[in-house]
């Protein structure tokens, strides 16, 4: 701890906005607001899931071929990485509640590292080789061995869903980094961990979306 012993950490004196009666009320309001935001996120992905459902029903052969082009080992590895990151994020809240500051900071950094690993694996082992082979969405499609005329559509669905999900992972990593900066200043502790909780909810939602995207894209054939 670099903080001087005479200075108390910031979490011991949490402030709240004037329109709240107490810090606890602010916490509850923030949390409900975040859950409302998460519902809009779910409905954003609901549109994509719906597009997936319609196109799979219309063009089952293209989607069956498509899932066979994906390597479920890489998908499984990425799923486990995200699950572990979700675990460390849930632990962050626990460490803040127990005032274990070192573990809190380490877990935040570890969660960011898991997110980075997820995105790196996605780009290096999935997007880049596939793009080079011509497995591209829509009119960019150049893969010469397709057996179904609707395979470009499959790649459109694949790149849109996983791309928007990867963007969420990236945004989540940035948010967790800001939480890490706050944690370094001693902002979070037993009485005050609203930021950790809110960003954690976002990160778990990203995990939740992937839990459904993974079987839909990789496993259903």
């Amino acid at each position: 701890m670099s903080t001087a012993p005479t200075r108390e950490p910031a979490w011991q004196h949490p402030t709240h906005a004037e329109h709240y009666r107490s810090h606890a009320e602010e916490f509850d309001a923030c949390k409900i607001g975040m859950w409302l935001f998460l519902t809009t996120e779910v409905l954003l992905f609901a549109g994509l899931f719906c597009a997936y459902a319609i196109f799979r029903m219309k063009y089952p052969t293209a989607f069956s071929n498509g899932s066979h082009y994906l390597n479920s080992n890489i998908g499984m590895l990425n799923t486990i990485i995200l699950l572990v990151s979700s675990y460390t994020m849930a632990s962050c809240i626990r460490y803040a509640q127990l005032n274990e500051q070192r573990k809190l900071r380490f877990s935040l950094l570890f969660t960011i590292a898991c997110g980075a690993a997820f995105i790196l694996i996605k780009f290096l082992f999935e997007y880049m080789p596939k793009w080079a082979q011509g497995k591209r969405p829509g009119y960019l499609f150049e893969y010469p061995f397709a057996t179904d005329p609707h395979e470009p559509l499959w790649w459109s669905v694949y790149y849109t869903t996983t791309g928007i999900h990867a963007a969420h992972v990236l945004i989540g990593m940035i948010c967790i980094f800001f939480i890490y900066l706050g944690a370094r200043r001693g902002k979070y502790g037993p009485g005050h961990y609203t930021g950790v909780e809110i960003v954690g909810l976002y990160w778990h939602l990203v995990d939740l979306i992937w839990i459904f995207l993974f079987p839909l894209l990789y496993l259903i054939h």
Binding site: R21, K31, L43, L83, Y87, A90, G200, H204, L219
Partner: protein
């Protein structure tokens, strides 16, 4: 219930004495992570087993087993994440209710769409086919007046030919007259008090070709 507090008539602070949030134990979190990883490996193995059974034992596993298996495992994993990692189990129930209604909306959205798209073929077999520009009656053979005809054009174009062939010229003329009577088209007149409908005010700007001159009007000449 505690005694009435005049400084806090609505009981906003009453719960603060025991407001301490639930601290999920480390063992619970590890157990949930273990279950999640187990189900991930299980769902991948199930998917591979179905392919293996099909290839090695020549047993065709119905497709719905693949879909139902993968999705039910995903639902179990999602529930674990929601209950323990997102702490809905220990949280204010209002948050769970909000999310439940979101999932209800999602179910309506996906369910009704699937019901529509998935059952179209039960009513009209040609609607089960892929969607192509101009409708998909091209190549479809139907009985028109006892004679099988194969469509070469979009279905509404085809109907313009098929209906007269089915009814005969006299009956069709009567139907046409009835249609004209029910949906009268205003005659296109152009005189001093009626202008010709067109898109835009500048002649020739929006029309594909120069408009017809008005009655009694000499066409504009170049160089004027």
């Amino acid at each position: 219930m505690s005694a009435f507090d005049p400084t806090d008539p609505h009981g906003f602070h009453a719960h603060e004495a025991h407001h301490g949030h639930h601290v999920v134990s480390g063992r619970t979190l590890v157990a949930v992570l273990g279950a999640l990883v187990f189900f991930t490996v299980l769902t991948v193995m199930c998917s591979r087993a179905e392919i293996w059974v099909g290839n090695a034992l020549h047993i065709a596993v119905p497709h719905w087993i693949n879909v139902a298996g993968a999705m039910s495992i995903a639902v179990i994993k999602g529930t674990l994440v929601l209950l323990f990692f997102m702490q809905l189990r220990y949280d204010n129930p209002l948050n769970a209710i909000i999310f439940f209604f979101c999932l209800f909306t999602l179910a309506l959205f996906l369910g009704l769409t699937s019901l529509d798209v998935g059952s179209r073929g039960m009513v009209f077999p040609w609607k089960a086919n892929e969607v192509i520009a101009g409708g998909n009656s091209v190549g479809l053979t139907r009985q028109i007046g006892g004679v099988p005809m194969t469509g070469q054009v979009p279905i509404y174009e085809w109907a313009k030919e098929a209906r007269p062939a089915q009814l005969g010229p006299k009956a069709f003329a009567a139907e046409l007259a009835k249609h004209e009577a029910e949906h009268p088209h205003a005659p296109i007149v152009s005189d001093a008090s009626h202008s010709r409908p067109r898109t835009g005010v500048t002649p020739g700007l929006f029309d594909a070709q120069a408009p017809e001159p008005h009655a009694g009007e000499a066409p504009a000449e170049e160089g004027h």
